[in-house]
Amino acid sequence: MHDRIGFSIGNVFAAVIPFLCGVIGAFITNIPISIFGNNVVPPLLALMPVYFWCLVRPDLMPPWVALVLGILEDMLSGGQPGVWTAAFVASYALVDQQRESFAGLAGFGAIIGFAAAMFAASATAYVVNDFLYWRILPVSTLIEQFAITILFYIPGAALLNLIHRRLVGPLRSDF
């Protein structure tokens, strides 16, 4: 009985880790402090766990988790509500549709896969903002964030890999 309870707690903990990684990413992104004098746009860290676990463990990253992380990103960023919510869901939809293609990528290809997901998120955010403000907005800052996020994905993916191997486990799909 104790083992069963202990196993369940471990399973729940493992299931919560992807969501927690997204929450921590959203908080780090939106800490309003910059060591670069606010000249550099922060990377969209919360999208990395969404992409990573949507590929390797979609049972741990269902669509509603991407939705909740998008709402959290919206709430913390201070922008128009719903922008990053729609962006995260659109990115999730792309990865979900092309999962087999993305999952086969490795090395540099994995970065290209994440770049495609980030592009979907950025494009959605841009279109939604254009709709909300009803004008064509400049894209320079968005492109900057796109590039910086992809750059940060290289160490980020290594970290997520480590978390996945040590804490989540590769094949625990039975909870």
């Binding site: 800490i31 910059s34 060591i35 004098g37 709430m75 960023s77 999730y92 800052t141």
Partner: protein, 339 residues
């Protein structure tokens, strides 16, 4: 990094919210956020109040690192910079003397003209504890909120000029929408000529200017100040200078939101100047020298607040700006026998 290293593990029959429904919910969040943008505001204010001590603590070391990383290049031209600052200082002292003389002259003119006083301004000094530069948002967080008297809509200035205005006030923190933000639109006046315009942020370093008049000509270097239209912002706050950018004009801001650490939040203690109510002598009939119509018979004045014979109280009249009593020498002498 190697996605291919993992097998895809799908849930086995676990009930999940379908992607289509999640997409509909996301769309609903966008529309609700557009219709009711204050949905998240309370949460944001609570979050910034909650994290303010952490931000205050982290601000010191981060500021040091930021200064170090951004200031390396400055060490190489300290001598030239020092010479330039000395020249600037000497020139500014001359301007200070000129400003003091002009200030005294304006005061004398105001006394002579019996001019309505400028609206008085209160100010709250605050530290910048956070800055956020996002693709669609430029904001900063201050360590002053409702407890210090900060209210949404108030202007925020640094030593050089206006930075933005408060758009969200928590108990001990407040969020500033910068002039460069997409949501920023403030009425400004361009000098010389007092040309009215709207300055609109578009996420670039120099907000665009939309003049309200037809065929107005702007020139590079013209001064931009707040016009005070709408009564929310004080008039005359320094904003920047005009710069042409192709077919449009932009504002080169005087303030530097990226480096300002201490700012002031201005609030209007008294409302802006409004024209006084016209006296009977100002009416066109009296001004034209025509005899006014005989006034209807009026009951003798009652004590303040007393009931009329019909049992109704007279409506109380409150002047926004009480008229200044006429000077004594302007009144006609009264013969005591005529009483």
């Amino acid at each position: 990094m190697a996605n291919g290293a993992w097998k895809i593990a799908r849930g086995k029959g676990s009930p999940q919210l379908p992607l289509a429904i999640v997409a509909v919910i996301a769309l609903a969040v966008v529309l609700i956020g557009k219709a009711q943008s204050s949905v998240f505001d309370h949460a944001r204010a609570y979050f910034s109040d909650w994290t303010a001590p952490l931000l205050e603590t982290a601000r010191g070391p981060v500021k040091s690192v930021s200064n170090w990383t951004s200031g390396i290049g400055n060490y190489f031209d300290v001598y030239q910079e020092n010479l330039r600052l000395k020249e600037d200082n000497a020139r500014l002292r001359q301007w200070q003397n000129a400003a003091l003389v002009l200030e005294q002259r304006v005061k004398r003119y105001q006394l002579l003209l019996n001019a309505v006083q400028d609206p008085s301004l209160g100010a709250v000094t605050a530290h910048v504890i956070g800055r956020a530069n996002r693709p669609f948002l430029n904001t900063m967080i201050l360590d002053a909120g409702k407890a210090q008297g900060v209210k949404p809509g108030e202007a925020v200035v640094d030593a050089r000029g206006m930075i933005g205005r408060i758009f969200l006030a928590g108990d001990h923190t407040s969020w500033v929408i910068l002039l460069t933000d997409l949501n920023s639109r403030i009425p400004v006046a361009i000098e010389p000529g007092n040309i009215q315009a709207i300055m609109t942020g578009d996420n670039t370093a120099a907000p665009s200017l939309e003049t309200l008049g037809q065929g107005v000509q702007l020139k590079d270097g013209d001064q931009i100040v707040t016009s005070g239209d709408g009564g929310l912002l004080p008039s005359g706050l320094q904003v920047g200078t005009v710069a042409a950018d192709g077919n449009i004009f932009r504002s080169v801001l005087l303030s530097d939101a990226g480096t300002s650490d201490d700012v002031r939040v201005l609030n209007l203690k008294s409302p802006p100047e409004q024209p006084p109510a016209p006296s009977p002598n100002d009416l066109p009939v009296a001004a034209a020298g025509l005899a006014p119509l005989a006034p209807p018979s009026v009951a003798p004045p009652l004590a303040n607040g007393a009931a009329t014979p019909t049992g109704q109280k007279p409506p109380s009249v409150k002047l926004l700006h009480p008229l200044t009593p006429a000077p004594a020498q302007a009144t006609a002498p009264v013969d005591p026998d005529d009483r």
